[in-house]
Amino acid sequence: MALPRALQGIRVVDFTWVRAGPWATRWLGALGAEVIKVEWPEAERGRQSGGNTTPPDVERGLNTSGNFNDTNANKLSVTLNVRSPRGMDLIRRLISVSDAVIENFSSRVLTSWGLGYEELRKLRSDIVYVSMSGFGHTGRHHHYKTFGPVAQAVSGLTFLSGLPDKPPAGWGWSYLDDTGGLYGAMGVLTGIYHRNVTGEGQHIDLSQMITGITLNGPAILDHTVNGRPSRREGFPPGNATHWPGAPLLNNYRGPTAAPHNAYRTSPGGYNDWCVIACFSNGEWQRLAQLMGSPDWATATELAGLDGRLRRQQALDRGIEAWTSTLDKYEVTETCQEAGVRAMPVQSSEDRVEHDPQLRHRDMYLALEHPELGSRKLQNAPFKLRATPAVNHRPSPLIGEHNRQVFEDILGLAHEDLVSGYEDGTFWPVDRVRYPYMEEMLK
């Protein structure tokens, strides 16, 4: 590639697993860091997690999860038994020639390995160490464990999503694994920048659950400033900004508006929905015109926001009668061309196959994976003009880069690599080796 990458020359030792941590290092890799994922097949969590995403015609295994492929692109993989003295020696040598260490274990794991921050500093005085545990490394509940939906529940995020008088709908995936991953990457980048400027490293102690709390700011201030209880009539109001009949209070999504909802579209399938929002009387008038100016829509009581808020149910019924006759992309184009806010509800298939904007932005470009074939991977949502962040390699096979890392970076002799497979340093002695490992050991 002609252009340089932003993190060229930055080496990251990556102990992360499952989703949040690997999502962080995926982006560091896309930005050009040399990310070395340290794994051990007997204690592996992530190469088969996230539901079954192995293609139906491929055998499930450590190297065939589609979700893993997307979450772990742009990295190298080494296998190393860090609980053996030889493995621990090698990991310490690797850390000593690296810029950052990142992990998302529970709070005391790295310290129990003898690799807490004070030890890491002895190996590399300016190391940037980012830990991504559920509750952080300090505080009375540091030992609590989370996965995405639990962190979302405890942080208040789940509560803010749903219909009034119903159970919380929450988030339909581990939003705090995605977002927690972003904070992991943001932490490494911030720490490296600070180190480049000051020469000082540090420990950045992230908490997945607490980052979730910081996303509820206006709801929290409505309580700490105004004393308003979060549990109240008509809240949360689903897709609306205000639930009809409830006191008129802000719902923390943005401006109060009507219409502001999801509407069925033709042909009425599971994801045949669109959303429409009118943030001004002018936007509403334009929508009414698009619908053919029916009498109900041009009625004077709907001309102002107060009237539309009071009559939301009738308003929504009228709008849905119109959208139901159109495809969701037709609704979107018709509205947007007239200056009315509308978008289709897009499934994963819609985004990958039908979204013209994501296609224009090259969001899904394919890379060849040795077991999965040519597959589209999700690309970066930003274009850095001088240093593009582009996926440049698929996820690594487990232990694929042992020779590259231990021989080329650490200077291990080839016979020492071979002996490490015989004594269980690089692979469990009683576990079948993959053909590419045998190839590496020739």
Binding site: T138, G148, T198, Q346, S347, D350
Partner: protein, 419 residues
Amino acid sequence: MTAPATGPLSGLRVLELADEKGQFCGKLMADLGADVVKIETPGGDATRTVGPFLDDVPGPNRSLSFWHYNTSKRGVTLDLGSGEGKGLFRRLASTADIVLETFKPGYLASLDLGYEALSATDHKLIVCSLTPFGQSGPWRDYLSSDLLHMAAGGQMASSGYDDSDVPDAPPIAPGGGNAWHTGAHYAYMAIMAALVHRTATGEGQHIDASVHDACALSTESAVASYIYRDEVVIRQTGRHHSASPTPRAQYRAKDGKYVNALTGGGRLDPASVRRLAEWFDDHGLAGDLMNERYRDPEVIEENVHHIVEEVIANFIANRTADEVYHEAQERDYPWGAVRAPDELLSDGHLEDRGFWTEVEHTELGRTFVYPGSGAIFNGSPWQISRRAPLVGEHNDEIFGEELGLSREELARLSDSGVI
């Protein structure tokens, strides 16, 4: 080690020309120590009209949303459309490391204030344009909102209800304005990458960041399920979307609140059922779980529905959500109470981590509690340094003291609507 008073981005100056899309990115940089100067239109930006408001009374300096998203920044007002406004902006830009802007694509360039113009005299400058759909493409000029992004990005297609909870429910857009958070997180990441590159090479660059791209990335394995298995996920109450239905996760506690108690297929082995039984038995709620027959994994397998939907659900129904949450966690079950935001204030763990931050509002003579930072940086703190700026609060300080405009000039610019 005692933490120095400056954050990791100390020494950086950021000019923020940002609405709801970018103000959170600016807050992150400001709370992390950068000198973020928010440039608003004279009279204040529209983000000041978004509620809730102090005492429910609207006003440009009373928006709690604005308060939250603009901590640690300084604020000036400036009409970029006027000739003098442009001149002042160029002078400010020459002092800046980063310009963060969320205008419609091409707007700053039409004023001759875009990246090309600004970087011509300052090759170290980083300009991040964070827009709904990016700087080009068929949807470039489309209007947006949080709800619209949640629809197009796939958040709604993944979130909603089981039919048994809400028959025929629509897809539900998760609340709280998280389309903007997601866009801001990636924009922050891109800016930091550009800064690291600049520390190595001395060169700045332009960043074209898109909220839609960012949201479309953020549904975990939904896209992989489609790409690798042609499966489109269904929506389920309070838990992961899935290609096919999975056991429910949320149970209603005695106090009417909910607990997320997803047991997961693998967790119910004889040892874990025994531990559940002993815990429940302390409260006389073990049902038949103490029965020796549950030492047989096959019996557990045959009775999963009974164990989860009857015994566990009944235990939770007879205890408060907080009791279940803490007792479960102490026993290594990763369960959690579905807490409302106002219930977080009494959480001792957050107190231990110094999370809540008292922020002084000198103009009101009052101090309010704000949510603090998501991480503890042991070498350079991430912390709120001041409340959000009042409209034009730092006009004198920045245009006068820093750029050297006289009192008379400031008064004239104010009268003519430039600042």
